[in-house]
Subunit: 272 residues, 2 copies
């Protein structure tokens, strides 16, 4: 959060490296653009802010096709349009592989929704898909190109922006977008708020694969939103209640057992 004249601005930045965060042989450039924008816009929305602008630092080898770059930029622009934001500028440099430095800015009309606001007694709810993108990556890694809905989930996440933008009016006490895995990300709320989070495995929405619960609990990149709300009235249908906030050590417990975090490790080997 950054002070601005008369208000506050939220800003978030991600660095995306070819071979690690995307593969040109797995995703068309338009989808890489959509995804690069989505993950930053979701971060802004998770803070309770309206995304306003996106900046792109673009690094690429000199032989990169202009058409490839155009399609990437189209993807960035179209994802921004989902939330009324625009691509405002950027930088272009030569690099050995494609590198994207994406920054999203947002405007706060009220207090930010942070990770530390969860309180014992709150319910935990999610909106959006869990485990779909991770299932898609496992399929692609095995050389498969279907089912299409799982492959597409990896290529182009669909963060439920509207539901998350409505969380403030529902009294959300904490919120984040699920980028590294549900358990690991809820762990950030548990730590920041000093609370214990209990999840009912049977309430977690699953992707349509045999190993659905594992992927739903540990798979990142779908950019669903997880939030905590005061337990005072039923949530609208787009939010699914999956657990509760209680007093206790800062940890996440699924069906009574502390669950290994096992989400995204930034220094594990690249996608190859």
């Amino acid at each position: 959060m950054v002070r601005a004249p008369g208000g506050r601005v939220v800003a978030t930045t991600d660095l995306l490296v070819e071979g690690r965060h995307f593969r040109r042989d797995w995703s068309p450039p338009y989808d890489i653009g959509r995804k690069a924008a989505a993950q930053n816009l979701a971060d802004v929305v998770a803070m309770g802010a309206r995304p306003t602008a996106l900046l792109l630092g673009f690094g690429a080898p000199p032989d990169t096709e202009i058409g490839w770059v155009d399609a990437l930029c189209d993807g960035l622009r179209d994802e921004c349009a989902q939330v009324g934001a625009s691509v405002a500028g950027g930088d272009i440099v030569r690099a050995e592989t494609v590198v994207l430095g994406v920054t999203a800015l947002g405007a706060l009309d009220g207090p930010a929704i942070t990770r530390s606001g969860a309180r014992p007694g709150d319910v935990v709810a999610v909106t959006g898909r869990l485990g779909y993108a991770a299932a898609g990556v496992e399929l692609l890694s095995a050389g498969r190109r279907e089912p299409a809905d799982l492959i597409d989930a990896h290529r182009r996440p669909r963060p439920p922006y509207a539901a998350a933008l409505g969380a403030r009016d529902l009294g959300a006490t904490a919120m984040l977008d699920v980028s590294d895995g549900l358990v690991q990300d809820l762990g950030h709320i548990a730590e920041a708020a000093g609370v214990r989070i209990e999840i009912d495995g049977a309430a977690v929405p699953l992707p349509p694969v045999p190993d659905g619960l594992r992927l739903a609990l540990t798979g990142g990149d779908d950019h669903a939103f997880a939030a905590t709300f005061p337990n005072r009235m039923p949530l609208p249908a787009e939010w699914r209640t999956i657990g509760r906030v209680v007093e206790g050590p800062a940890e996440v417990v699924v069906d009574g057992r502390t669950h290994g975090a096992g989400g995204w490790d930034h220094f594990r080997p690249p996608q190859r």
Copy 2:
């Protein structure tokens, strides 16, 4: 420029790639941090804004020494402190080489100073060093490590922030920081404003090397500031008047001759 509640925010982003924008064998990490921050903070100041925050996307190989990263971050922080800004957050990823995605934010207390405001009759002035960093790069490329002031100029630019922050009160009609070379950067003002810019070579401040004028006109990376001002009163000493804005085709002329731009080409071969 990005609308924010009750005001406007300026944001600028740069991608810096090891081997191209910096070399770990040429610069200590602290200086790389100082320089990475300086080039973005200078961009913000050139728009007439107060820098408020900096975000870092940091990519590095897994065997990068923690001490190296700490020193880089110290450099970012200390450069931010020069202008009252702070490092507000960022992202960390694995990459084959060190990559820095730096975003700086600033607050506008009045209208932005853009490139298009220059008007015939204005004077052109600069504050800060020109050609020093380029002289330093030529020395380093030749295997030399002195004179120290030129080597240091490459490693750690010293943008004259205070002078540039005062440009608004002097009535500056256009401003930018000299990052790609004086002639090339003034060309951006000439194009944006639809004016001709005439430079007096004898008035340009030179670095202390035999080929000083060439380096002062074409060398980037010192992050001096160039601005245009109404010709109504003498400028304070930190601004040196070097030319004038006239009607005519959008170009930059030095001593009556159109000067090849010859500044930084983003797709020329890397520093090796």
